[in-house]
Symmetry: C2
Subunit: 475 residues, 2 copies
Amino acid sequence: MKKTRPLLAWETLLDLDAASEPRAARTSLRNRLERALRAAVAEGRLPADAALPPSRVLADTIGVSRWVVTEAYGQLVAEGVLDARTGSATRVAASAHPSALPSSVAGITSTPAPRFDLRPGIPDLRATPRSRWASALRSALSTLPDSDLARAHPSGYLPARVAVAEHLSRSRHAVADPERVLLTHGASDGMSILATELHRRGHRAILVEDPSWPRLRDIAARAGLRPIPVPVDEEGVDASVLAEAAARTGARAALLTPAHQFPLGAALSAARREQVVHWARDHDAFVVEDDYDAEFRYDRRPIAALQRLAPDRIALFGSLSKSVSPALGIGWALLPPGIDPPPSTSAPSLVDQAALAHFIVNGDLERHLRASRIRFRRRRARLLDALRTELPDLTPSGIAAGMHLLLPLPAGCAAADVVAMATADLAITPLHRYAAGARAPEALVLGYGNLDDALVEETVARLGALIRAAAAPAS
Amino acid sequence: MKKTRPLLAWETLLDLDAASEPRAARTSLRNRLERALRAAVAEGRLPADAALPPSRVLADTIGVSRWVVTEAYGQLVAEGVLDARTGSATRVAASAHPSALPSSVAGITSTPAPRFDLRPGIPDLRATPRSRWASALRSALSTLPDSDLARAHPSGYLPARVAVAEHLSRSRHAVADPERVLLTHGASDGMSILATELHRRGHRAILVEDPSWPRLRDIAARAGLRPIPVPVDEEGVDASVLAEAAARTGARAALLTPAHQFPLGAALSAARREQVVHWARDHDAFVVEDDYDAEFRYDRRPIAALQRLAPDRIALFGSLSKSVSPALGIGWALLPPGIDPPPSTSAPSLVDQAALAHFIVNGDLERHLRASRIRFRRRRARLLDALRTELPDLTPSGIAAGMHLLLPLPAGCAAADVVAMATADLAITPLHRYAAGARAPEALVLGYGNLDDALVEETVARLGALIRAAAAPAS
């Protein structure tokens, strides 16, 4: 199949990119060039094996320093998009040539993410390790033995379960037996499976933090477990209130976020950790530990998973969705002995599971988490600085970990008003969206996982203007 | 990280392979060399960027013709395992270097598939398009826009749904609106989702073919739909018996395999297709069309999907599991309007869905199906020849399509006895394993999807000996 499309007009490479991407002007020349070249390859404007201009020539053509071009070429060679060999032109890689879908199939053109993106629970989409996950998938596909391809792996592919167990044991100090690891698509999938199993065993209610992420509560409810809200304060869930609610309702299961409460941000205090575990032991109860962003902890040493204190009573949920990318659709549940859900009809594919094993064992997960931790710590500092400057009277909380913080609003300022006044390109979330029963205080949950570093100040300036406008007495 | 392992001892390359792989002696030299090189790269014996000997030198060293080496190199370059550039040595690709898992994580060493593999419902594992699926995944990862990564795609990623709809419309003449395509992990997943939805709408029973694949019946039963067996004969399911059973039990849903009944092998006759559709129309009923191996049809033109006759009443299930590989864990359900299951917590990953779109749109699926059809047609002919020679008194049936046939046993010979006498390396399946109610005739279901071409005659010889021994009067 001969390509007949004209080759790239090199001199328009960066212009085109800047025109089509408003944020591009704020990113480095090198990043812009990388993106432009990646897009040109992806869209077939640069076909497989096409030779690229020598770096000096391209640098002159588009008016950047040669260093910018050599760095961009180098990055794309590392990603397998380009192919370089000493003494020969850099070319578009033949084997790794990614082809975009024709527009007939691409369906809708995708709407861009909000420019000023303060959505909680989303990692840095720009930093998705696309190339490393592709390598993990390729390793999986290259090395899976034929005989494993058609075999049933009821709780998951054993090498993946071993890799996850080692990861949880190392990074979360969990008591992790590979036999107790279930491969899932993430916390929602784990919750659906576990809630169904608890319902089968006679459970009809589950204690949930108030406020908390509604999705997992809703999934529990759909499986027949009524969510019973338990208030959360600055030390996390109040264990004595938890025990009272359990006694009142007969609930013998609880869904908690001990490492970093979502959305208030507390780490469950040591005393309360003990109390929760005692409650579970004394009442033959189960705890679901949603370990959704425990990887990102800045001011103190990471807290070990609660699961460690009572592996026979606590199910630990984790995934790559909030730490790497939701697009990978893979996670795990470390289940207590005796909790054995029936084989799933919708487990992650064997290839994805084997890729996870490679990703963990090769150190790619740890590398990604380390880089993310550094990036998020910097961004958090910058965001806190900007908030101090722009909104000096407000005191953010829940900042010790994770990718979000809580911003209580000034007296008389309603979160709903702030959100209602925001333009579509500014994504902000009122705390009351997470309320499970009690009315939530007027506050905003500000996620910074996907906040563009170059836009932190502008985002906060816009946010400040909105808050001041909402706080002003109505005219 | 410096590799300290010794490089490959080239002269032992093929010897090693032959010693470790009994079947290797039967495959071509070129295939053996490819496998040996692929394994050497996978296991790290050939590190990234290692130069391979010139083809002439390697050919002399291991004693094969130069053509064998150039062909093997060429294939591995196409797969991205090796990297070739004119005027330079062929090298192990840097970016695509697949690394095997260390044995600590690999967990158990995998038990090999049965050598004489007559399991039904498994495609040719040796022909898994590993490299092409890896390319589709890489394309997906390279081209998915950032903004799509964190977006919910409740029924699936739209480009994948469009690609599946086009595929179903083209290859199965289905009436396929992308809006009605749900991305699943395969027929089991689809059945679980649809049965749960039918149960929610008040259904409590589902008509199933007898005999049929137990897995889908079991999944329906788990979701609360009691399976009602309906006998199958040489024209497929008897539509008047189906209507009677529906009237008797109040069932308004039926699970059918119209293209190629599993396991008896009939194609539903034209008259019965009409009758089934009339029944569904007259009784406000739904039909689930499990299109599990409709791609492989040899003696006649493919029959269009039943779904075409009544898109408002028929759900069409398909997947790559039986046509490409169960390890990919991806499939689809084309649902009638109005059947809208709630968003899944365990959909295939966005990356897998986008890869499916690339795989279909790039023509890889059609290419794979075409090659498989040719391979299976040849293998079927060889298998029928061998059966005629070895067991001339038996008449296989259900041979017009798919990857299996039915072998009725001689009078007095019990399928259970034949299976009981088989050694572990010969996988055979008695028909009665698929019985849903009525007692099945004494017969074997012989799958040839993963039967090694080189072992067809030996497999049939072993089978013949077992049948003769089981048929002999007890001494």
